[in-house]
């Protein structure tokens, strides 16, 4: 696609303060850099896990946008969200050690007692919530051998890489050095990354413009390059 079709307004002198889920650091960093180069708008992005960002928004009462890993993360700050846009799909997968040595084919295999699972924390970590739901829906909650719950998706991946566990449920982009069990069971848990503008924002022009940019192909390409999928 031709990115430079549209006329880009010059936003020199504007600046945006954006909170972004730490899990999305890589693609979002690229996107903001590109945007800054194009428009000259100063981009202040701060990364942290969702809960910490919610605390920061509610306490500091400043900032323009919140990029959240799923719409669920907006609930604690919903009073101050003025508008939210769906960006891309965030795909959870059942991941196993490289080459799938234990030959795991689906969620139902996870009850085997030779399989050690690690999961994200069921309350504070988005993929943890998804995993709990998936296990419950498969009616195997409580029957799998969960050796630990962790606080970030990359940590879950690391656990598998270092052979401390055999299976986990994480975002697709975290599973680069693992094998993904191709099973459609996980499809129903796909989330959407959202961008929410906050009522504390004082620069509607820049916010509007950036939200438009996020909808552009330039931005979407960066997401897909990083393992996310475009929403239909």
């Amino acid at each position: 696609e031709e990115p430079s079709e549209e006329t880009v307004p010059v936003l020199e002198g504007h600046d945006l303060m954006i909170y972004c889920g730490a899990g999305m650091t890589n693609p979002f960093e690229e996107i903001t850099q590109l945007y800054k180069d194009k428009t000259g708008c100063e981009m202040n992005v701060t990364y942290a896990n969702a809960g910490q960002i919610q605390s920061q928004i509610n306490t500091a009462q400043e900032g323009d946008l919140f990029i959240a890993a799923s719409a669920d993360e907006l609930v604690p700050v919903q009073d101050v969200v003025t508008r939210s846009e769906n960006l891309v799909l965030h795909i959870p997968v059942l991941a196993v050690q490289k080459g799938n040595p234990l030959n795991i084919t689906g969620l139902s295999d996870l009850v085997r007692d030779d399989i050690r699972m690690v999961l994200g924390d069921g309350e504070s970590v988005p993929v943890g919530k998804i995993a709990n739901k998936a296990l419950a829906d498969a009616q195997i909650a409580g029957q799998v051998n969960v050796v630990a719950t962790l606080t970030t998706a990359p940590a879950l991946a690391t656990a598998l890489e270092s052979d401390e566990a055999d299976a986990t449920i994480i975002w697709k982009e975290n599973a680069k050095s693992l094998s993904i069990v191709e099973s459609p069971e996980m499809d129903k848990y796909i989330k959407t990354v959202v961008a929410a503008s906050l009522e504390y924002s004082q620069d509607d022009e820049a916010v509007e413009n950036f939200l438009e940019f996020l909808d552009s192909d330039d931005a979407k390409n960066i997401w897909t390059k990083n393992g996310y999928e475009i929403a239909e």
Binding site: A50, Q52, S55, P76, E123, V125, T149, T151, A155, E164
Partner: protein, 265 residues
């Protein structure tokens, strides 16, 4: 001039107290309403017990290791002294998170797996919390105790020798008691740090509820869930433990020795 400096000191003391006091007040105000709930919560209760247990054990181990190491550094001519001291000092400036990651790497290595098979599991196991505390605290604790031992006049040890004390007993009866204050202070700092540590812990053992969840992890989880008030309630519990701990050290620190004629017994 004297009064001038005194007044400045008073002002600074008040400012620092207010700075810290206000920050803590924020905890108490936010945490108090949920305190009852936190106390009754089974998970929190477990976290309190696990925190107290692991931090106490790790503090004791830390001292038991630091004292002989500091002894080696200050009272012997062990050939690897210099290199040991440098290595031990290295982790000090590293974020606890990194230290946790290091431990994860070390204990997931074939060597770590051997240890696990021998019955000493560290990764994802409460033992790991103690290990995490140790790597976080050892460098500080050793450093403080080395400083303390360096201050002790070696002639008193020699005199103890002339009275029949072996090197070990000179150390036990002279060096150690003369470093008492500094060791107590080091103990308190170590214990405090262990109670509040979660960076390395999270990385190494995760936050499995009712298994490896300490009070700071609990707080972290609550903050991560946006549950600040519950987090603050747990923090208030930590504060209480901290006050208690201060009380204990204060008790051991009561002055029994008179160091000055101006004092009365």
């Amino acid at each position: 001039m004297k009064d001038y400096f005194k007044i400045i000191s008073y002002v600074i003391t008040v400012v620092v107290t207010l700075f810290i006091g206000l920050s803590i007040l924020a905890i108490i105000v936010k945490g108090f309403p949920d305190l009852r709930e936190a106390f009754l919560n089974r998970e929190t209760q477990f976290a309190v017990r696990l925190s107290l247990y692991t931090s106490s054990i790790s503090t004791v181990i830390c001292l038991l290791l630091s004292i002989p190491v500091a002894y080696t550094m200050t009272r012997t001519n062990f050939i690897f002294k210099k290199i040991s001291r440098t290595v031990i000092g290295l982790p000090m400036a590293l974020p606890y998170l990194v230290l946790g990651l290091c431990l994860l790497i070390v204990f997931s290595s074939p060597m770590g797996k051997l240890l696990r098979d021998a019955g000493f599991q560290v990764v994802f196991h409460p033992n790991g919390i103690i290990m995490a505390h140790l790597i976080v605290n050892l460098p500080f604790c050793i450093n403080m105790i080395i400083t303390a031992f360096t201050q002790v006049n070696k002639r008193l040890e020699f005199i103890a020798g002339t009275l029949g004390a072996s090197g070990f007993r000179q150390f036990i009866t002279v060096t150690l008691p003369l470093s008492k204050n500094a060791i107590l202070s080091a103990t308190m700092l170590t214990w405090s740090r262990a109670l509040g540590e979660f960076g390395a812990t999270l990385m190494l053992v995760g936050c499995t509820r009712l298994k490896t969840e300490t009070l700071p992890t609990n707080i972290y989880l609550n903050i991560s869930t946006g549950n600040n008030d519950m987090a603050m309630a747990s923090a208030v519990i930590l504060l209480m433990i901290s006050v208690l701990l201060h009380g204990v050290t204060y008790f051991f620190n009561r002055k029994s020795t008179i160091h000055n004629r101006m004092e009365d017994s």
